[in-house]
Symmetry: C2
Subunit: 227 residues, 2 copies
């Protein structure tokens, strides 16, 4: 096993699977949970529970909500531009990418955790990024991660590796991998709403449900919620 | 002239010079001022004044103080690690780089303003980065900016250009360029302390003083402070 990695843990199914994978690859794990103005606190709670399950310390919380509110342009962060930029610079969201695309997001996150890793002398970063289900996000493609590795290696004058164990898996394959790794999916949260139980209607719930159905497995989070 | 650029304006001498240069190259400028827990509000005030001088709107403020406090490792942000990472992950600052090096900083900033630029369809970024006076910072080297351009181009599936007009200039040459461009150096702030006038003792004051002396020019900020 390799010594240490930083793992990005959002509380969702994909990053939980990446965390489960990381525990089989690295002796020590520094979990990081990132808030950037999205949704609600259910995900953060799920991230805490997942880390606790694996005997890890509480994740380090990085809060990028202010910058991403200013950047705007995404339905996930729904920021409006303050500061009165000149009239020629009216906010326009390019229409050729999904409205949930948060421009700059993954590069900001990777640069921040690479900086954190540098302080701790950790040069392995693990995340649940996936190019299949959200193929509209350009910063979830292998080409992006390869270029980001090079840029961060230059920034820190030290090679570093971004591990993307789920990058080419379908949701079904992710769930099958996680189930094999005993990932506690009952602790994860995927729903866009923050109610007591998943809504079952939003895109994220539907993708998750279809994934478990394709894997011919029950969703332990639903069982936990209804039992 | 090219249409639009985002210019990073810190309030210091270098970014003021980069801003002055940008006004000769771009029709529209979106100024951005970034706070990451450094120093005091004098710099931000100077950034506002510089933008006002050039007839620009107030700069857009991005606040990265929370993440950089968590990242720690730099004397500029002096963060300590919260969240109790496991004992094996004790904070250690690598000693082969200056203590003022903020790991990840420039890549975080560039990714954020690239995201902002994407929303506004601006793919030119200008900053006062310099590889000469602070040659210990790996993320101020041309190799880093070239790699960052590629990574951000992949992240946004659009080519973008990072302009570093000062990258290979000495402080003397920067001041000579800025003087030629009529950059209002009286409005800039370089001192690490936030007093009424520059302290004249800190590294930043000394580098600035030596630069003006080498250029055989008076420092208008000192004249303004003492008059």
């Amino acid at each position: 096993m390799r010594p240490s990695a930083i793992v990005l843990v959002s509380g969702g199914l994909d990053s939980a699977t990446a965390l489960g994978w990381a525990t089989t690859q690295f002796q020590h794990i520094l979990p990081v949970n990132i808030y950037y103005g999205q949704r609600h606190s259910k995900e953060t709670f799920a991230a805490e529970q997942l880390c606790d399950h694996y005997g890890l310390a509480s994740p380090l919380h990085l809060d990028f909500s202010q910058p991403f509110a200013m950047i705007g342009g995404s339905s996930l962060t729904s920021g409006s531009i303050h500061g009165n930029p000149s009239q020629e610079l009216v906010e326009r969201t390019p229409s050729d990418l999904p409205p949930t695309f948060v421009p700059g997001r993954n590069m900001v996150f990777l640069a921040a955790v690479a900086g954190l890793g540098y302080v701790h002398r950790i040069y392995d970063i693990v995340g649940g990024w996936n190019a299949v289900d959200y193929s509209g996000y350009p910063d979830c493609r292998p080409e992006f991660f390869a270029a980001a590795e090079r840029a961060l290696g230059e920034a820190l004058v030290h090679p570093l590796t971004i591990h993307t164990p789920l990058i080419s898996l379908t949701k079904q394959e992710i769930i099958e991998l996680g189930t094999k790794l005993d990932v506690p999916y009952r602790l994860t949260w995927s729903c866009y709403s923050g109610g007591g139980a998943p809504c079952g209607q939003c895109d994220s719930c539907v993708i998750r449900r279809d994934g478990f159905a394709a894997a011919k497995l029950p969703d332990p989070a639903l069982t936990a919620a209804t039992s």
